[in-house]
Amino acid sequence: MSAPRDSVLAIRDLRVVAPNGAVLVDGISLDLPRGEILGLIGESGAGKSTIGLAAMGYGRGGCRIAGGRIELAGTELTASSRPVREAMRGARIAYVAQSAAAAFDPAMRLDRQILETPLQHGLMSAAEARDWMVELFRALQLPDPEGFGRRYPHQVSGGQLQRAMMAMAMSGKPDVLVLDEPTTALDVTTQVEVLALLRDTIRRYGTSALYITHDLAVVAQLADRLMVLRHGREVESGTTAEVLESPREDYTRRLVAERRESLAPAAGVRHDAGETVLDLRNVDAGYGGSLVLQDVSLSVRRGETLAVVGESGSGKSTLARLVAGLLPPARGVVDFRGRPLPGSYRDRDLAGLKSIQMIYQLPDVALNPRQTVGEAIGRPLAFYRGLRGAARREEVARLLALIGLPGDFADRLPGALSGGQNQRVCIARALAAEPDLLICDEVTSALDPLIAEDILRLLRRLQDELGMTYLFITHDLSVVRRLADRTVVMQKGRIVEEGPTATLFETPRAAYTRTLLDSVPELRRDWLDGVLARRVR
């Protein structure tokens, strides 16, 4: 192997095969020089996690390294025995997962889990390992570095746990870190600090890293070089600046363009809004004794899009459930088209149920796996509009055409469709009821960026053609920018700011809105430093 001399990880012609014979990764070669961060970019199914795990000599879920060579710190992994690979893991190469809550053993104290790596590999004495762990805790700005490790995983917050996992990965002083979407599960405001601490820790100890993510803006802040992947193959690679500023391949150009467009200044979408469809005044709601929504007032007018943004725990999804009738309000008034809306869906008549439809985050769970696409779309047609036989089939075909799917999809089961296609079916099912209000609850969050963009475009077109009214629930500010006429910002169950989208983005009044807007990663490489500087101020 002719790896550059200072390369700590060198992969040549890697090929990984799934148990069912599908090729997940093919023909991948890369070099990781000491102290460098290589970003692996791609949508789901691009094989980026598979490559990261293969670098550790590990195949997830029965996947097998079927070809190629992996040289880690001078040791060839694919040909070596299991004990050799085990000795490398944790000591020379370590893994940071997306969900720290799932990656920590719930029955073991944090320090015992973190010290396990250096002690089991015999890398240092117990005292040295503990000192090193406390130093890492301090570097990662965890509270009470001496005592932090005595806690159990469920006793610390999500952002702290993610940093604790970084400490666990660094505990064996590895040469290489594999960071697999380490901030994706965090809220944007938390993501900023974790991202900064990850970067500083990697730089301070001169560790090399593979940084796996789907988010170009995030990786732009950390990576020296980027490799773009698609369907398990390399699309292109180069320095971060080269790839972001002058992408050579069409696919990369589309990825970058999508991200740039999502960050473009709010277009100031403005529909000619009609009568008020939905009107909430001073609404409280909650589960058990605790209120999740407090004193919420908002209104949606016909033909417009009202976006509700907030981080986890802001109450935005509870708001969607309230309007849908799944959670009756504890106090306040909810009017729909000028008349009081019964709190529970059970008390609403068919016309009321028909007029409010909902689309969900996970299309695969929102469609019954045992009903064909035609049945799913056809049921509301029969149920609300009494369409039968040929009339119903024609209407299904018309709806399928409207959402951009071929007519023969009517006979397929959801399992045979992709996530984006299933989300289109969910939209068609909602349209079949001819609703006055469409609640969209994080409808693009589970989709890859390019697919999500298609769905957003479809929703926008439907609004233009049919005059649809949307109540759009999301945590993603870039979606809000592109779609919403007006925006409501929520925090801890209360509305902190409300206004026309363009105005709100340009001149946010509430401090929380400013923090939120500021925390959205941008493609500029100096964005993170800028945010940190502004935060200190």
Binding site: R60, G61, R348, P369
Partner: protein
């Protein structure tokens, strides 16, 4: 099933299916296939196996093979009837409790919890003490007691499905109970329920045979496998295999069903670290 899918069936499952098919045949055609009558005395007690009597004679000099064939209908039939009863009761009630929740669920679940807090055998013995043992009492008692377990599984499975968003969509559409059960829940609950049917059958089958073995199940003059073990038990002290034939017949059918269920349930769990 496609040829490729057939090839992926493990040999143990094939053995299981063969055993089930054999027993089904005995259940359907047993008396027609039997060379002798079930009450017909054809020789001396405990005659060893011979060409004319492949499994020998029982404690009354009746042909063991013929009695096994006759007994199949009784042993398997009673269990099938009881399981059918327990499913036709447990599945609808379990799904109803899951969908309706609240009072219906609380009442049904409390009753079921209480019944299940007594071992089935003890409950059955209490009822048999009061009512005496007859076929209808046997079938209804076992069916009712077993329906608690079917209820519990159906309820949990239905709760899981009912919490899915597609069920929520149907509820929000205003669908009635019939559509919810028939179109949303049952089709998705089938795989675990089918496996449970196999397991419940095994349990019931062993249970009926056990009661008969204790002399409290199927009563003479009907031949049934559990009772045949009891009747021939003394033979073992003389080193004879006689009681082992009906006992083995019971075991083989149970093994067969278990092998198939094991295959149906396999592959549901994934395990980390297979290729490490």
């Amino acid at each position: 099933m496609a040829p490729r899918a057939l090839r992926s069936v493990p040999p143990t499952a094939w053995i299981g299916m063969a055993l089930i098919a054999l027993n089904l045949l005995m259940f359907l055609l047993g008396p027609e296939l039997a060379p002798f009558g079930q009450e017909e005395t054809v020789g001396a007690p405990f005659d060893p196996p011979s060409a004319g009597h492949l499994l020998g004679l029982d404690q009354n000099g009746r042909d063991m093979l013929s009695r096994l064939l006759y007994g199949a209908r009784m042993s398997i039939g009673v269990s099938l009837a009881a399981v059918a009863l327990s499913f036709s009761l447990g599945v609808p009630l379990g799904i109803l409790a899951a969908i309706r929740g609240r009072a219906v669920d609380t009442v049904l679940s409390r009753v079921v919890d209480t019944v299940m807090s007594v071992p089935v055998l003890i409950s059955a013995l209490v009822v048999l003490q009061a009512l005496g043992s007859s076929l209808p009492v046997l079938i209804v008692t076992i069916g009712l007691l077993d329906s608690t377990r079917v209820f519990r599984l159906s309820r949990i499975v239905a709760q899981g499905i009912n919490a899915m968003e597609y069920a929520e969509v149907a509820r929000l559409r205003g669908e009635g109970l019939g559509w919810m059960i028939g179109r949303e829940i049952l089709p998705n609950a089938m795989p675990p329920l089918v496996a449970e049917f196999g397991l419940r059958f095994c349990f019931t089958f062993l249970f009926v045979a056990g009661l008969s073995y204790l002399g409290l199940g199927v009563q003479p003059p009907f031949a049934d496998w559990g009772g045949m073990v009891r009747d021939n038990q003394q033979g073992i002290l003389y080193g004879l295999y006689a009681p082992l034939f009906p006992a083995a017949a019971i075991a083989l059918l149970t093994i067969g069903v278990n092998l198939v269920v094991d295959w149906l349930l396999a592959g549901r769990t994934t395990v980390q670290g297979e290729n490490r």
